[in-house]
């Protein structure tokens, strides 16, 4: 039986990708941020997941605005990163798991999550930066990738509640797959940042910490927020925190916090890292 062995949250901003490409991990600006990932990397090394489900949003690589699926699941045997137009280096391709993906799609659609299935899906920095943060030190990606794209770009977006419910359905879908497969699920993006408008540059440390607290201990407090309330506090791009709720929904009601890290600013962003596992009730 497939099993979720843990959930991870991380920012996915391109500046992190550029910093990794330029090997700036020990640069004073970046060191504290990157150091915060070492315990997560060590845990991954220990548990050796077979599959990483990365919940992320595409920023104009695979999906243009002609077609914007609210939820889109990769159902391919491989995924490629590609040129996004402004110079972030392209990474090695990723192995997928089409059988597992199609099982997830079928289960999710049967649970009334009518998502889009993608047999070709370029994965952009939103997906690739988290993979690189965890595994760039290895000669090749140590596990398969299943990308799950959430529309956080063009409103109307799904609510935090809907994302949380998707996570719960995803857990059922994963646990009904007969193959012994260890799954780690990533909620990516966030925390507070706004790239656009005269209000660009907001970071709300208190709200970020509150979100991390709610996500761990009281997810219903997160789902009580409307998207407008989240944007008021965390900025228009801070809305990406709804993708953390997919991860949270996929875990048990009670979780252990194996690691909790926060740094700000990283580029324009408050960056939070969580490593959570199911608590034995």
């Amino acid at each position: 039986m497939a099993k979720i062995i843990g959930g991870i949250t991380t920012s996915h901003i391109p500046a992190i990708g550029n910093a990794m490409a330029s090997k700036l991990e020990n640069d004073p600006y970046w060191k504290r941020f990157f150091d915060g990932y070492e315990p997560v990397k060590a845990w991954l090394e220990e548990v050796k997941p077979d599959v990483a489900i990365i919940v992320y949003n595409d920023h104009g690589l695979n999906f243009f605005l002609n077609t914007v699926p609210t939820f889109a699941l990769g159902c391919a045997d491989e995924y490629h990163n590609d040129d996004e137009g402004w110079g972030i280096p392209t990474t090695a391709s990723f192995k997928g798991d089409a059988q597992f993906s199609w099982h997830l799609a079928e289960s999710l659609i049967n649970q009334n999550f009518d998502l889009t299935t993608c047999q070709e899906m370029k994965v952009d920095h939103g997906c690739v930066v988290p993979m690189s943060l965890m595994w760039r030190h290895l000669p090749e990606w140590p596990c398969k990738l299943i990308p799950l794209a959430v529309n956080t770009v063009q409103h109307p977006l799904p609510s935090a509640q809907r994302c949380y419910d998707l996570g719960k359905a995803l857990r059922k879908a994963i646990e009904s797959y007969p193959e012994d497969t260890k799954v780690v699920i990533f909620g990516t993006g966030g925390l507070s940042h706004q790239l656009q408008g005269e209000r660009a540059g907001i970071i709300d440390v208190e709200f970020d910490m509150e979100c991390m607290e709610y996500i761990v201990n009281d997810p219903d407090k997160m789902t009580a927020f409307s998207n407008t309330e989240i944007m008021e506090k965390a900025g228009t791009e801070g809305i990406e925190v709804i993708m953390w709720m997919v991860m949270r929904g996929a875990l048990a009601p009670n979780v252990n916090v194996l690691h909790k890290h926060y740094h700000a600013p990283i580029s324009n962003t408050g960056a939070g890292v969580l490593l959570l596992t199911d608590a034995k009730d």
Binding site: W86, L195, G197, E232
Partner: protein
Amino acid sequence: MVWQKHDYEDIPGTYVFNGERSHSGYNLNKMAFSFNHEANRKEFAADMDAYCRKYNLSDEQREAVLAGDFLKLLHLGGNVYYLAKIAIFHGLTVQDAGASFQGITTAEFKKKLEDNAEGFQEALKKRGGFWHG
């Protein structure tokens, strides 16, 4: 026919990218999307005006692209992720654009970010449970 109003329109200095904006900025964003291909970037760089016309940008949009007026482009339906693909031709990053939206220098913008996050390590300690690295 009317564009529905939304509560998020009251957030100051903010242009939530919704159906209305995406509709008005469609050609502009489509042009920016084409810059994912190097050949298109070269074609644009060689004659920006002609390339904008090829994508049927409005006169206002075209002039704002040529001028690198990113606040104007936001007003005209540009999405910030797509504007990033245009900013690069003006030698600008997303942080430079963030500064230009409010008419400050990039150094001032970075200072604003630092100020907004100031004291975060004390806040983490107060809340507890964070890894301090």
